[in-house]
Symmetry: C2
Subunit: 355 residues, 2 copies
């Protein structure tokens, strides 16, 4: 198995993603965009740094999330397969809705491309349909911008709209307390995060995307392209349960996503499952330090549910019933702050993700 040059290992920053600079620019935008007065229309619910923006109107509270597939599209382009990223487009957005307990009711896509290739668009559409079927909601519209002067590749973005059924309140993590248990739901691979780093690792190691890694039959490219698991139905199965105190979609930022839920406790991940073959193989390509791995990739767990410890058995049963037989205990909420992983001996104190 090929190994990277040098001993210090690859990091996301070395791969060209400077999270600090992005955070600075974003703060400049958000601080300048802040209005002086309350809006005339709608009542926004302040939830800074969380997965979705909430706004109340009439008797409804609505949730809005927006996200792009990012550089995973470059893998789609290299393999000439686009339906997986189409499915990702839906999944990454509705999973962010699930992370506040919102039920998706519609999606719009936003595609910027250098030229309108009907075959690419058809495959993206097929993926979107699969994503919508998993999520249970409809495509309400979208935008297609053919702008070769702005984009060199296909930028696949979307926005999902969700609501809270009668008597369900947003699940923000504010009710998380010491003693709560953390349940993990398996990911379906790298989902749509960390691909700038993945691409650099593959390039440096000269990996042929069409060939399988040792012991596998599917090519590495196809393995990496696998669409994001949609957690909508699983979370719908427990979102009305009063013992569910917090929900985290493990997207960009890895385990640090837990910090978006509550800053006054520590999330101790003492039951993290053994890291799978694909992640381990990828890590070995570039001598990736464990710290980088857990703060960039989902490392096998794509969603975390924080539950009152007295009701863990009941919630696990419901999760299994709702489509997650893989649900298992992965940690505990303890006194302190941050996220800790006793296994690889890691501690994270800030989210680091842009938003």
């Amino acid at each position: 198995m090929p190994r990277a040059r040098g001993g210090t290992g690859w990091t996301y920053a070395r791969a060209g993603v400077d999270r600090g600079a992005t955070a600075i620019a974003l703060r400049a935008l958000l601080s300048a965009a802040r209005p002086g007065a309350a809006p005339r229309y709608g009542r926004p619910v302040r939830l800074p740094g969380h997965y979705a923006g909430l706004v109340a109107v009439g008797r409804e509270t609505l949730a809005l999330t927006t996200d792009t597939v990012g550089t995973k599209v470059l893998l789609a382009e290299a393999l000439g397969r686009w339906s997986e990223v189409g499915e990702d487009l839906v999944a990454i957005n509705v999973n962010d809705l699930a992370a506040v307990g919102a039920r998706p009711i519609g999606l719009v896509d936003c595609i910027s491309c250098p030229s309108p290739d009907p075959s690419v668009f058809r495959q993206v559409g097929q993926g979107i349909r699969r994503g919508l079927t998993h999520a249970g909601c409809a495509l309400l519209g979208g935008e297609t911008a053919v702008v070769p002067a702005i984009v060199r590749g296909v930028d696949l973005g979307g926005t999902a709209l969700g609501h809270f059924p009668p008597r369900r309140r947003p699940i923000t993590g504010a009710r998380i307390r010491v003693g709560d248990e953390l349940l993990g739901l398996r990911s379906s691979g790298f989902h749509a995060n960390g691909f700038t780093l993945i691409r650099r690792l593959l390039e440096e190691a000269g990996v042929d995307l069409r060939r399988p890694r040792p012991g596998q039959r599917t090519g590495v490219g196809r393995e990496l392209l696998r669409p994001t698991r949609t957690y909508t139905e699983i979370i719908e199965g427990i979102a009305d349960h009063p013992a569910v105190h917090g929900l985290a979609h493990i997207s960009g930022g890895g385990v640090r996503n837990l910090l978006r839920l509550n800053g006054e406790v520590q999330f101790e991940l003492d039951g993290w499952p053994e890291v799978g073959g694909l992640e381990a193989w990828l890590a070995s390509l570039g001598d990736l330090p464990p710290r980088e791995l857990y703060q960039t990739f989902n490392m096998g767990i794509g969603f975390v549910v924080v539950v009152d410890r007295g009701r863990v058995t009941d919630v696990l049963r419901r999760l299994r019933h709702a489509g997650a037989p893989d649900a298992r205990r992965i940690g505990t909420v303890v006194r302190g702050t941050g996220v800790s992983l006793p296994g690889p001996d890691l501690q994270y104190d800030d989210y680091g993700g842009a938003r």
Copy 2:
């Protein structure tokens, strides 16, 4: 005044925007994305080709629109001024909500860029704030993707969420009938449409963006960059009036946007105001044929209100009161189909815009 080479004149297609190819690709996507069954969550309201996607949930009907500023950002980049396009980002989306009579309650932005420049982000934020103030709603969240492998410029997109206040129904144009009058509201320049063509015209003619055109004091670049007028408050002033039968945001596609409202009547624009100096000057740069002008740019009218002819005086009074002293009669709904402009003797039979 410089003139383009050749005698056939510039068109949007010659400038590199092939609307036909985009429409074909889009049809491939939409046809592939169509689900086989009704969604489990939310009740979508079918309104194909319209300005917003509608979905009903509980007692609310919600509207979602998504759009990008497009290649106007390249002008912002050339001038190093970004607040105008930040304001556009809000305006183009809430104007699309206004075109179905929906009231904006929140917005998310989605920015893809090659590098996170804090000064650019701050200015975009300032523009977003101004746009939100005009629109009366809040920024609920957003996404910032730093993806130099996908984009060479800043791609500025957004999604706006709207609702219908109690007793207001969506205004779709279905109630438009022969005899209705068309009222026009002035645009504030080219808004954020047609900039691929504008840029080509300026380049070919060797125009210095910092210098004013004849008879003006502001540089041409600043004139072209002027932010999109926000019609939210104006339309809020009449959206509950039963005589308002249709609303059209004159965005990409020019006057053909009227075709999105109703295909069973003809929109006869016999009172279109004299074309302003900026539009006439730009047209002269590239010998642009009138047909191309009216199907690409808003030509001075950014929004059209279709009104029962017996109530025109009342609606005009309300429009003036709501912030549009410029509102005026520009045409009539007659028997037939399509959009006709008796002045320049033009007839359009299809919308042509992608969506």
